[in-house]
């Protein structure tokens, strides 16, 4: 029993250790077991992984080949499109470029030829400048000319004024006895006014300016139309005039005689060379009026263009002598009294011009 108890006690004392050892040995194995298990798992997983990776690699390669081919195909399509586009663009650019060149040339030509001629503009502006210069010169000249004229006019006015002054002051001229105020003996030369006074003509008394009548011809004097002629006989005598006492003639008659208008004889009324003047007048009028100076002959005498040939009996070289009919002066001009020719004067018959118009009643039948 004691041994059993001792063994029990020993076993009980060792039971903890046994338990610990049991636990410990289990756990050690476990430790290794876990480790080994892990290792096995790892190896297996690695291997499985390699297998799968190889499979995947294989798949990848296949996929890559498919994709490669597909991509090359589609890229080639795309590339062809791109090339076509680029080619097209290049062609269009070239065309545009060429079109621009043509348009440039054409537009330049059109503008220069039809719309805007630059050289013509320059020429025009140059012409305008020239015209401007010419006009400026001409205007300058004109202004200068005006100035000169004005100055001349001013000078002339001054001269006239001074002249007039000198004429008014002519009495200030110096004489031999008394030197004038402008000719002082202490001066070397006389004053210019002195010389002017010497040249001046003294002013006469100013006659009242008679207005210039235009010359009244004899006919209007006859009619007595001017204001200063005698009043006509239409003026009646004043009504309330007292009758003068005595054997006087009727006042109306007296006034009529007094204010009778002038009645010159024919000899005085017409000018002396009236006939000659009338001939001249007629000739002048014919000269104005006639287109053709030749005398019109009657139609019947158109065929009569033969010159008249006088017969021998009636023609001689001794014609009529003009002395005694046309000329009356001496043959010898040295004997003439005056060089002027005699004038024919119309003879007058005064006998009947005053008949019945005289104031006196002599010779009238009562």
């Amino acid at each position: 029993m004691r041994e059993a108890m001792a063994t029990l006690a020993r076993l009980q004392a060792r039971s903890k250790a046994v338990g610990q050892q049991y636990y410990f040995r289990n756990s050690v194995v476990d430790v290794f077991r876990k480790k080994e298990n892990d290792a096995a798992v790892k190896i297996q997983s690695w291997f499985r992984g390699c297998r799968v990776r190889a499979y995947i690699r294989h798949l990848h390669r296949a996929a890559i080949i498919v994709q490669k081919w597909w991509r090359s195909y589609s890229s080639r399509q795309h590339y062809q499109l791109v090339v076509k586009l680029a080619y097209y663009t290049m062609k269009m650019n070239l065309y545009n470029e060429m079109a621009v060149r043509i348009q440039r040339r054409w537009r330049g030509y059109k503008i220069r030829k039809y719309c805007f001629d630059y050289f013509y503009l320059k020429e025009y502006l140059r012409a305008v400048t020239e015209t401007n210069d010419a006009i400026r010169d001409a205007l300058e000249e004109f202004a200068e000319m005006k100035e000169r004229e004005e100055k001349k006019a001013a000078l002339e006015r001054e001269e006239k004024k001074r002249d007039y002054q000198a004429r008014k002051m002519h009495y200030l001229l110096s004489t031999k006895q008394i030197p004038g105020i402008y000719n002082s003996p202490f001066r070397k030369d006389p004053d210019p006014w002195e010389l002017r006074l010497q040249k001046a003509k003294p002013l006469t008394h100013q006659r009242p300016r008679v207005k210039q009548k235009h010359s009244i011809s004899l006919t209007s004097w006859l009619a007595c139309t001017s204001n200063r002629s005698f009043p006509r006989s239409e003026i009646l005598p004043p009504i309330n005039r007292k009758q003068c006492q005595g054997p006087f003639r009727d006042i109306a008659e007296v006034l009529e005689q007094r204010y009778k208008p002038l009645e010159p004889t024919l000899r005085e009324a017409e000018p002396i060379n009236e006939l000659k003047e009338a001939r001249e007048d007629l000739r002048r009028q014919e000269w104005i009026r006639n287109v053709n100076d030749n005398m019109f002959l009657p139609f019947s005498s158109y065929h009569k263009n033969e010159k008249y040939v006088p017969s021998m009996h009636s023609s001689s070289k001794y014609g009529p002598n003009s002395y005694g009919c046309q000329r009356f002066r001496d043959e010898n001009p040295k004997k003439w009294i005056c060089p002027k020719d005699f004038q024919t004067v119309l003879p007058s018959f005064d006998l009947f011009s005053k008949y019945g118009k005289l104031y006196s009643k002599a010779g009238q039948i009562v």
């Binding site: 503009l121 025009y124 305008v128 400048t129 010419a134 006009i135 400026r136 205007l139 005006k146």
Partner: protein
């Protein structure tokens, strides 16, 4: 007694004298009435109210020439003050008698009648029409041909007053054959006559192209240019008015004037006078340049631009400055050459100062702004544009910067000059809203330059450099 009562008294005293037996008293009374009416429009109204006009008109037809002159003087004196008084004269039937007086033998009577008709026709178109309907125009044209200078003057002034209102009236005057006679008399040495003739021709020519062509066909060019050199200021003014009225209608007429050397003559005339006399000449240059660029170039080569810029700077009146600014705008707006020709004479700063000054009138400001804008939009002459960068207001600055942005990308010398003159610096200092036109222009200018230069000139660059110096750690050695 108030003045009005005095007037009534005087009128009632003078009125019976008009009916006096002695003709001298009648004439003197008429003369007195005329002088009173001439002085004051109240007195003229009193003449009308006192019922004197019918009596005058009645006796105008019958009396001798002295009375006619005095009566016509009264009618003229009454008619000159206002349209209502002139209408009163027309209503009492004076026009027919005045026209009869125009046929009188005595030139003094004709002159008085023509003067009265001219004053009546001056006021408005209806009165002018009434004068024309009375048959005055052919008689006035006959009066112009008379030898007396005073009569010619008055007849020309009457024709000018008639034709100024409307084209129909001007056509009536032309139909009576006035233009030929007026054109012949341009060479007359009398200055006052020339004034009236040129005024008459310009009133005729101003209405329409046909009338202007008819005036030109009367061969007034180049004779009219001699009038531009006359001593009398108003002859010059009226001559340039005539040329202006002709030039403003069509480019062909302007071309005709330029071909005849009119541009140079007008420019010389502008140079030789001052003040309001210059105004028509300035406007004429503006009209000619406005028609086409060739004509504007013709104005430029006739040395018009220096003269106009002189006018702009030295004239004291605002309306003349406005006209000069407008004319310069018309010249410079066509092509870059034109703009350059204007910019070279240094007028752009003057225009800018006129635009900015507060003393200029509104009209002047508007015109100078338009001129600056139109010239700037074509100007590629950079030395003239640079001063604008510094003192222009924003709305003009936009155009200036725009022009720079157009020119700089193509011209390397200009770029260099732009940098050295400090323009780039100024451009960087301009504040612009992003996305606005100004910002785009600034960007395009900045693109012409390398990055460093732009950064160098941007404001605050020195501060950034200094900041970099501050933050720089020297390498420990």
């Amino acid at each position: 007694m108030s003045q009005r009562q005095v007037l009534q008294g005087v009128m009632s005293l003078l009125r019976p004298l008009l009916l006096d037996v002695v003709p001298t008293i009648q004439q003197t009374a008429a003369l007195a009435l005329g002088r009173l009416a001439n002085y004051n429009d109240d007195l003229a109204e009193a003449v009308v109210k006192g019922d004197i006009l019918p009596q005058l008109v009645y006796s105008l037809a019958e009396q001798n020439r002295f009375y006619k002159k005095a009566a016509a003087f009264v009618l003229r004196a009454v008619g000159k003050h206002s349209p209502q008084l002139a209408q009163a004269i027309v209503d009492c039937g004076a026009l027919d008698t005045l026209v009869i007086c125009l046929e009188d033998f005595d030139p003094g009577v004709k002159e008085a009648a023509a003067w009265a008709l001219g004053y009546i026709a001056r006021h408005n178109a209806e009165l002018s029409q009434a004068v024309v309907d009375a048959g005055a125009v052919p008689l006035l044209v006959l009066c112009i041909q008379e030898p007396e200078v005073a009569l010619k003057r008055i007849a020309a002034s009457a024709l000018s007053d008639i034709s100024k209102h409307s084209p129909e009236l001007a056509q009536t005057v032309v139909d009576a054959g006035a233009i030929a006679h007026l054109a012949q008399m341009i060479l007359n040495p009398d200055a006052k006559l020339k004034r009236q003739i040129l005024s008459a021709l310009s009133q005729i020519a101003k209405h329409s192209v046909d009338l202007a062509e008819m005036v030109v066909e009367a061969e007034i060019f180049p004779v009219v240019l001699t009038c531009l050199k006359d001593k009398d200021e108003y002859v010059k003014k009226n001559a340039s008015t005539l040329i202006r009225e002709i030039a403003k209608h069509t480019p062909e007429l302007s071309q005709l004037i330029v071909n005849a050397g009119g541009a140079a003559a007008v420019i010389d005339c502008i140079g030789s006078c001052k003040g309001n006399i210059r105004l028509p000449g300035i406007m004429m240059l503006g009209y000619v340049a406005a028609h086409s660029e060739n004509l504007a170039m013709a104005v430029i080569i006739s040395k018009g631009v220096p003269q106009l810029s002189l006018c702009l700077s030295e004239e004291p009146e605002d309306h003349i400055k406005a006209a000069a600014a407008w004319a310069l705008g018309q010249i410079g707006r066509h092509t870059p050459e034109h703009a350059r020709a204007v910019a070279v004479t240094n007028t752009l700063p003057v225009l800018l100062s006129l635009y900015m000054s507060t003393e200029s009138s509104e009209d002047l400001q508007v015109k100078s702004k338009k001129a600056i804008k139109s010239i700037l939009q074509k100007c590629t002459y950079l030395p003239a544009l640079e001063p604008f960068l510094y003192d222009a207001p924003p709305n003009i600055l936009k155009h200036v910067v725009g022009q720079f942005s157009k020119v700089l990308p193509h011209d390397s010398k200009a770029r260099r000059l732009f940098v050295t003159s400090g323009g780039l610096k100024k451009v960087q200092e301009i504040k612009a809203e992003p996305g606005s036109l100004l910002q785009e222009y600034i960007n395009s200018i900045n693109n012409c330059y390398p990055e460093e230069i732009v950064r160098y000139y941007s404001p605050g660059y020195s501060e950034t450099l200094l900041q970099r110096v501050d933050s720089y750690q020297p390498l420990a050695n």
